[in-house]
Amino acid sequence: MSLNINEIRKDFPILQRETSPGVSLVYLDSTATSQKPLPVIEAMDSYYRRSNANIHRGVHTLAEEATTMYEQARVKIAKFINAKSAHQIIYTRNTTESINLVAYSWARANLKAGDLVILTEMEHHSNLVPWHILYAERGIELDFIPVTEDGLLDMDAYRALLLRNPKLVSFTHMSNVLGTINPAAEIIRLAHEVGAVTLIDGAQSVPHLKVDVQALDADFLAFSAHKMCGPTGIGALYGKMELLESMPPFLGGGDMIKEVKLRSFRPNTLPHKFEAGTPAIAEAVGFGAAVDYLSSLGMENVAAHEHEITEYALERLEEVPGVKLFGPSAENKGGVAAFTLEGVHPHDVAQILDQDGIAVRAGHHCAQPLHEKFGIPATSRASFYLYNTKDEVDLLVNGIYKVKEIFG
């Protein structure tokens, strides 16, 4: 089934706005954060209007309602990624916090000096810095699966790295710059052959592809609500039950305990063991509504639409003299087009496009090592989601021609 994009666009009030009088918004920055559809906005609004209370342990009506809504959202999220149990979904603030949870809890309990952690050269800073911290603190070793010239992971080099018996392989499922969709199932299968645990950074994949943790045999999966039509301030960590159960608590406080004495505590069961303090309740409700929204459209359809837009965008951008695209061809790529324009800094490109209401991002997109690898300080990045159209791609291309004119 193909999506009716005009109908979908009506669900996103922000897409109707103008950035200045007479200039309509062309939002091509969903890789940074997606826009929010009405069902998400309304669910959060209604939660605050009708049901707001602190969750768990309250017995009054509102506390019951709020707790139910908070936990129902968890069930929806579990179903969305095909987790066996909702207890395997830990609410966090975002992907970054999910990865840090694994680094602080699992890794500190399981890694010692000299243990090898394999990452890739295309990681976002959120899947680099937590491991840098552990390297400095503990002397773990880090090595990296190289990225080839066309933006793919060098799987032969990965196989060679695996001979060194890594304890953990932590990798992005989809690059936020190159758009590369990495072969997660194969990466995990090979890691398991040598007994390594795996962590998928799903910040870009879960919003755009059907991600099935059981089919992938994923050990950990980290993702954020705000990139998949949900609110900021909430994300999730999925983990295999035996891993999560064996892990010590991360943050201490209310809700993560079963019993507290003056000098000791007993941790709560999953998932609460990892959810200290009053959580982002309205955001969890919004997260649940976002998952419902995406499920109602069908992730296969979302992915198919984005593929069509991306293919068209790459084709159009390639025609523009002076434009250099980064990353693989459309078949291995999500809805991301990172590019440079000869003689013009990406910031200037983004600024001039903004005058026509076109929102793209410019910079290193929190992937500085990857940009260094390609020998460039920054790129401009247009990214596409379920609400983007071919007309918007045309506006982008016209805008780039305008940039070229200004810079003569």
């Binding site: 013009v344 800094h345 990406p346 910031h347 200037d348 001039i352 910079g363 200004i406 810079f407 003569g408």
Partner: protein
């Protein structure tokens, strides 16, 4: 729009008059804007009377950062170093002749930050130098 990309900015970006590196120099400083990777190095020779004898900038980045560096260097040659220390954000904005939002302001002010850290002999360029 074309406000932001006034001809003077495009002109100084494409054909800078003061791009280069002085050897020898009395003052050298460099810094980057981590958000966008703009990078500026300034080298400066001082005269015995306490004025700037010559100066150059080098680096890479957006039109705003590079044009403002060129305009800034042009404006300080022959000036007393003590006056250079007193330059402010507003002086840069007056030279560029545009208003900038908070993100692009960092681009425009990078060269002044580098210059002031250099003439004050500081170890590190701080944003407070250009506020």
């Amino acid at each position: 729009m074309d406000d932001l990309y006034r001809e003077v900015i495009i002109e100084h970006y494409k054909n800078p008059g003061f791009r280069g590196h002085l050897e020898p120099h009395d003052i050298q400083f460099e810094d980057s804007n981590p958000l966008c990777g703009d990078h500026i190095e300034i080298t400066l020779q001082t005269a015995e009377d306490g004025t700037v004898k010559d100066a150059r900038f080098d680096g890479h980045g957006c039109a705003i950062s590079q044009a403002s560096a060129d305009l800034l260097i042009e404006s300080i040659i022959g000036k007393p170093v003590e006056d250079v220390k007193k330059l402010t954000k507003q002086d840069i904005l007056d030279m560029l002749g545009i208003d900038l939002g908070p993100v692009r302001l960092k681009c425009a002010l990078l060269s002044l930050k580098v210059l002031k850290a250099g003439v004050y002999g500081l170890g590190e360029a701080s944003d407070s130098l250009v506020e």
